[in-house]
Amino acid sequence: MTNTNGHIMQIRGLKTYFPIRRGVFSRVRGWVRAVDDIDLDIPRGQTLGLVGESGCGKTTLGRTILRLIPATAGEVHFDGQSVFDADRRSLRNLRRQMQIIFQDPVGSLNPRMTVEAIVGEPLKVHRLARGRALRQKVADLLQRVGLSPRYLNRYPHEFSGGQRQRIGIARALALEPRLIVCDEPVSSLDVSIQAQILNLLADLQDQLGLSYLFIAHNLAVVEHFSAQVAVMYLGQIVERAWADELYRNPAHPYTRTLLSAIPLPDPHIRRDRLSVPDEISPAPPAGCPFYPRCPQSQDHCRVHRPSLQEISPGHFLACPLEK
């Protein structure tokens, strides 16, 4: 951890495995390697996009670095301070600085709490405000995310999806965090609303100097939003680059497939769609995780496990074909 200036969070060798338990005595019969040896840096004041298909472990990664899911191995440093080694007091302090926004605007708000109680809870937990000051602070937060303070006493079910997502953002902002994990914040919204929420997040980043880990399953959403993009496949990072470089020169076959899946706005233009088998079949234990689906796979991909190599400045690739 020599240089922490450019990065607000550094992830080294992170592993999150879930045990598969079977039988009467729930013996551990195997492990799901949701996050499998990942190194990643989140740039300060910027956005790192994390892209991959459902089940690739990106949500697990996002929750592990916030210590919501216990890590199996590895280290995460926030501003030079270890997240996993933090004791109660320093963890409490860390939590003020790292927050999360969820995908599901319905499930992320307690249906039995008013907007005031939901957005004000972090302030109460950290004893930052109470009584009228708390109410005023919550009203300010609502205004900040484009909601009227009139809504203070309403319940989540009285709002639409986009409005609920704004409430979730207001809650994440309450502690004035420096890093926000955005776990597919627009995936369940209508396209028109997606743009509004993305604009809101971008404005907030400019105004408050926030850093984002922006998780998505769609490269198009990440494209205009992220400074850097990391592509994740089966628990591993397969490619990482500056956003414009990744879109111009995608190097990994999986990244190319993801890019070719972005729909074009003009129906008369046809893009050559690259396709891979739908099913995620188990990768050979020694080889490349993408081997069974890769259109360019060769024999030596079966045995050679790739690691991230810098193929051009700032552009990292994990592909056995790259030598």
Partner: protein, 302 residues
Amino acid sequence: MAEATIDTSESTPVPTVVGSSFWRRFRKNIPSLIALVVLILLFAVGLSYWILHLSGVHWPADPNQPDPPAQFTPPSVGHPLGTDDLGRDVLARVLLATHISLLIGFIAVGISVVIGVTLGSISGYFGGWIDAIIMRFVDIMLSIPTFFLVLTVAALVRPNIWYIAIVIGLTRWMATSRLVRAEFLTLRETDYVQAARATGAPHLRIIFRHILPNALPPVFVSAVLGVAGAILYEASLSYLGFGVQPPDPSWGNIIAGGKQYILDAWWLIVFPGMAIFITTLAFYLTGEGMRIALDPKETKQI
């Protein structure tokens, strides 16, 4: 703020089951609505008859005052439900027993809900070996034939209402604890609980503010059904002579006292039996109506 518009064009909010919508849905279930009205009447009658009895007002006669010349009077104007072997008025005894049954039912369920919710919450929230220990304890409790345990204990002590209620409550909390545990296991993983954890909220706050309020509705349903079970339990105990002790009337012991005269004085069995039947049915139907009103899957059909 570059972007301060409030989007109104989005899809309409999904209705969720809270507050007034519960009542709106419950109302549509006619049998349950009738059952609820019956329950309210039962409460009113049981409570007012008890108060009148305590203040010395008796109708149609003193329930505990033997009147030998009037023994085995069939239902008539003076004794609408007849009299028993000691000439006591059956209607008066059935009415006085109402408050005893309801009292025992509610105290027993109150105790079982407190134990069940506490253990179920701890078990579901903390998981791991704590969960394993509590759930094995539940398994052990479930494998004990509690009715015979209660009979054995009752044989050693002279039972009174409180004692019976406590014993019933102590042996009927297991289903509640499993229910609460299951709710906790589900709710613990919700995003709003994760959000609370991410802000550093302490365990007690997460349990009491976020999980418990959302876990309780099914507990209410099982509690209402549990009252019916507890009333039946009390009636069985009293019938066997280990529950409410004569001369205090209980539906169970009125039937027990009348069983040897069943061929000559049917009213001694039929009327307290009907009281048990109507009361438990009313509780079951009310509980069932609550369950349907709370079940989100029933939304589309109504």
